[in-house]
Amino acid sequence: MWYNTSTGVAQLLGRFFMIIPIMAIAGNLARKKTVPESAGTFPVTGALFATLLVSTILIVGALTFFPALSLGPILEHLLMAAGKVF
């Protein structure tokens, strides 16, 4: 009962609560002035930007879950490889 309820609440929060800050960012961006492109503008097409974006997501996003993952699936894998299954 406790786990069912708490994971339910956590999922609700995780899914819908996050919308609020995202909407706030979107609103803020919409109010910004557009700046014409020049040689001083960061090019947002090409491999450089893609690398930057992907590594940011990996470091900031994925690594946040690294502690939980390492106790969960990663540990499970290592234990399984050592011949211990649950």
């Binding site: 002035k33 040689a39 690398t51 940011t56 470091i59 946040t64 939980a68 106790l71 290592l78």
Partner: protein
């Protein structure tokens, strides 16, 4: 032309500043100051928690006391190091403020009463609107405007320049600054500022960082860092239930260590130091920025408005060639041109006299017996000259002279008309010389473009900054000089209101505009521009309107200001990237260590091969603290800046600070681990 040679280079640290910074970093531990920096505040709270746990452990003789003590100490060091970075940056400004304060010493002022008599009052009693008389040898008691007289003034207290400057009533050289000294003559000054609000007072506050406010960019970055901190706080807090479930609950030391290593302490600790150092770099180049916001805006500038005269070209046009009409010899023309210019005190007139002397050996000669009548230049006639025994020699703008000879029924030779057009198209200014109704020829005045300007504009273009030349010249002349100097665009026949309209137009397109100016008529445009650099020799109105003052009064410095601004923004970005990229290695150090006791298999993640769980966690915390100290010089000096486009700069800095930020801590943590294992600390 380049002013980089004048940079007053200060050593990065001298003993006095360091000692003061160490004391300052302890004083800054006060929570009320710390809370302004959310990242470091979290570290301080963490350090407090571990300290309390340490005391409890000591009382109950539980836990690993040595390990807890070391973690706690290094957490406090992390906070202290960050405070030290800020105190170091401020200390450099404070040393400068002390020098300035000496110049602000109380002086006696001779205030003019309404009835014309003088009374002696201390300078601190002067109010805006008072009129004072300052004689040779006396200090000017406050900021003001010269309303009567001319004097040479020693402004070295403010500018560091020992050569005296001339200050006179009227015109653009009328502003005087409190604390400077009159060397000769006597002037009347109308005071324009109240005590405590003078230029010197503001300068002291600025270099001390007392009136420092967070800039928009800093606020945005702080929000980002606070956001990251909250995310990592949640990640660490939720880890404990996981750990308990797995049967490996963690001590407060380990959890706080993990948190402190994950939150971006490196940039959090150095952020304000970078901002202060940016202002300091301006001051070293003798530019006083009125706010950090101005320094930052200068890094984002898209368009530079540069006045032609004094910025792109050397001060004045000079006579460079004589082009005689057919049937006139060159020396005849030179002779007439020199005669017509003898009484002409303008730089152009003087350059004609000099050219005639250099080329034809014509010197000033005795002709007072010929009853000369000198005709000075006037805006109406646009001519100057001399009348000698019925000979009327005139020189002036082509239209004026053409009218002059046409009134006397003469035509201008075709060749001469062609010559005038050629000179104009080539960027020069033609002057016609006439003797009575006969045109003798043309004198070409040319602008001399300063050396190295073309390369500088190319650098700016590479950075994505457009340069625009502003001039009162006609479009033809302007186009020729623009081409010669290599600017992107120009505004010809510009009046002050045109300048203003141009700035507004660019800003409406979303561009940030920077400009320099010194005259009162520049003031509105200086206020409108995103970065307005006023010259110190300029009027009080211009200095009030701009958000920076260049004490050297060198308009070319605008380019350096932009570079400093860019460097500030790049340094901030580079260290943020470095700080976040560091997290990868710290995860690999701490996570396996946390659970190695319960699950030895997790040691597979210990890719650095750190000795023990304790040494791994301790190494990560030590690295996290030491890297702040190691990066202080970089934060104060700024990332090495090279002019290049955004993409090239980004690629380079990502490689150095992004990839470097991932790799460096792997090496650093391993080395620290080897060291503390060798020393048997853990």
């Amino acid at each position: 032309m380049s002013t980089s040679g004048q940079v007053k280079s200060k050593p990065l640290a001298d003993k006095k500043i360091v000692v003061r910074a160490i004391v300052g970093s302890i004083a800054k531990l006060h929570p009320r100051i710390m809370v302004k920096n959310p990242v470091m505040f979290v570290v301080e709270v963490g350090a407090l928690l571990t300290t309390m746990q340490l005391v409890l452990d000591a009382l109950h003789h539980t836990g690993l006391f040595g390990f807890g003590l070391q973690i706690t100490l290094w957490l406090w060091f992390t906070v202290l190091f960050a405070n030290f970075a800020e105190a170091m940056a401020e200390g450099r400004g404070k040393a400068q403020a002390d020098t300035l304060r000496k110049a602000r010493a109380e002086t006696q002022a001779h205030r003019l009463r309404a009835d014309g008599s003088l009374d002696v009052v201390p300078s601190s009693k002067l109010r805006s609107g008072d009129v004072v008389v300052v004689s040779a040898g006396e200090f000017i008691p406050g900021d003001g405007e010269v309303i009567e007289g001319v004097a040479s003034v020693d402004e070295s207290a403010i500018t560091g320049e020992s050569a005296p400057v001339i200050r006179e009533s009227g015109g653009d050289r009328s502003a005087v600054t409190g604390g400077t000294r009159v060397l000769s003559d006597q002037i009347r000054v109308r005071i324009t500022s109240n005590p405590g609000e003078t230029f010197l007072d503001r300068m002291i506050k600025l270099v001390e960082g007392a009136s420092r406010q967070k800039t928009p960019n800093e606020i945005a970055l702080n929000i980002l860092l606070a956001g990251l901190t909250i995310i990592f706080l949640l990640a660490v807090i939720t880890l404990q239930p996981f750990a308990i479930y797995s049967g490996a609950p963690q001590s407060i030391f380990v959890l706080v260590s993990l948190l402190v290593c994950l939150i971006p302490t490196t940039i959090g600790g150095l952020l304000s130091a970078i901002g202060i150092a940016g202002m300091d770099r301006m001051i070293q180049r003798n530019v006083i920025a009125m706010s950090g916001r101005a320094v930052e805006a200068s890094g984002d500038v898209d368009v530079l408005l540069l006045d032609k005269t004094g910025t792109i070209t050397l001060g004045n046009r000079e006579a460079t060639m004589f082009y005689p009409c057919p049937n006139v010899t060159e020396s005849e023309l030179a002779n007439a041109a020199q005669l017509a210019s003898l009484a002409d005190e303008t730089p152009e007139g003087r350059s004609i006299v000099v050219l005639a002397k250099d080329k034809y050996g014509l010197r000033g000669r005795e002709f007072s017996h010929r009853n000369p009548i000198f005709i000075p230049f006037s805006a109406q006639t646009r001519m100057s000259g001399v009348d000698l025994d019925g000979l009327q020699i005139r020189k002036g703008a082509p239209e004026a002279i053409l009218k002059h000879v046409a009134e006397r029924g003469q035509q201008v030779p075709k060749e001469t008309q062609q010559c005038v057009a050629d000179i104009s198209n080539g960027g020069g200014t033609p002057l016609l010389v006439a003797e009575n109704a006969r045109i003798l020829g043309v004198v070409a005045l040319t602008d001399i473009v300063k050396g190295g300007m073309r390369e500088r504009f190319e650098h700016l273009r590479a950075m994505g900054i457009r340069t625009m030349m502003i001039t009162g010249d006609n479009p033809l002349t302007a186009a020729a000089i623009a081409r010669q100097a290599g600017v992107d665009d120009f505004l010809a026949e510009a009046r002050p209101e045109d300048k203003m309209a141009l700035i507004k137009r660019e800003q409406a397109k979303g561009q940030l505009v920077a400009m320099t100016g010194d005259g009162t008529n520049d003031a509105p445009a200086l206020a409108q521009a995103d970065v307005g650099v006023a010259m110190n020799t300029g009027t009080q109105a211009a200095k009030e309107a701009g958000n920076m003052v260049d004490l050297d009064s060198n308009p070319t410095k605008l380019i350096e200001i932009v570079e400093i601004g860019k460097q500030l923004l790049i340094t901030r970005g580079a260290l943020t990237t470095f700080s976040v990229a560091n997290d990868v290695a710290k995860y690999f150090a701490i996570i396996p260590a946390m659970f190695a006791g319960a699950f030895p298999q997790l040691n597979a993640l210990n890719i650095m091969g750190l000795a023990t769980p304790q040494s791994a966690i301790l190494s990560a915390v030590i690295f996290n603290a030491v890297i702040i100290i190691a990066l202080i010089p970089l934060a104060l000096r700024g990332v090495k800046y090279r002019p290049a486009g955004a993409a090239a700069l980004l690629r380079r800095n990502l490689l150095v600070y992004g990839l470097g930020g991932v790799v460096a801590p792997f090496v650093g943590i391993k080395l620290i681990d080897l060291l503390i294992t060798y020393l048997h600390f853990a």
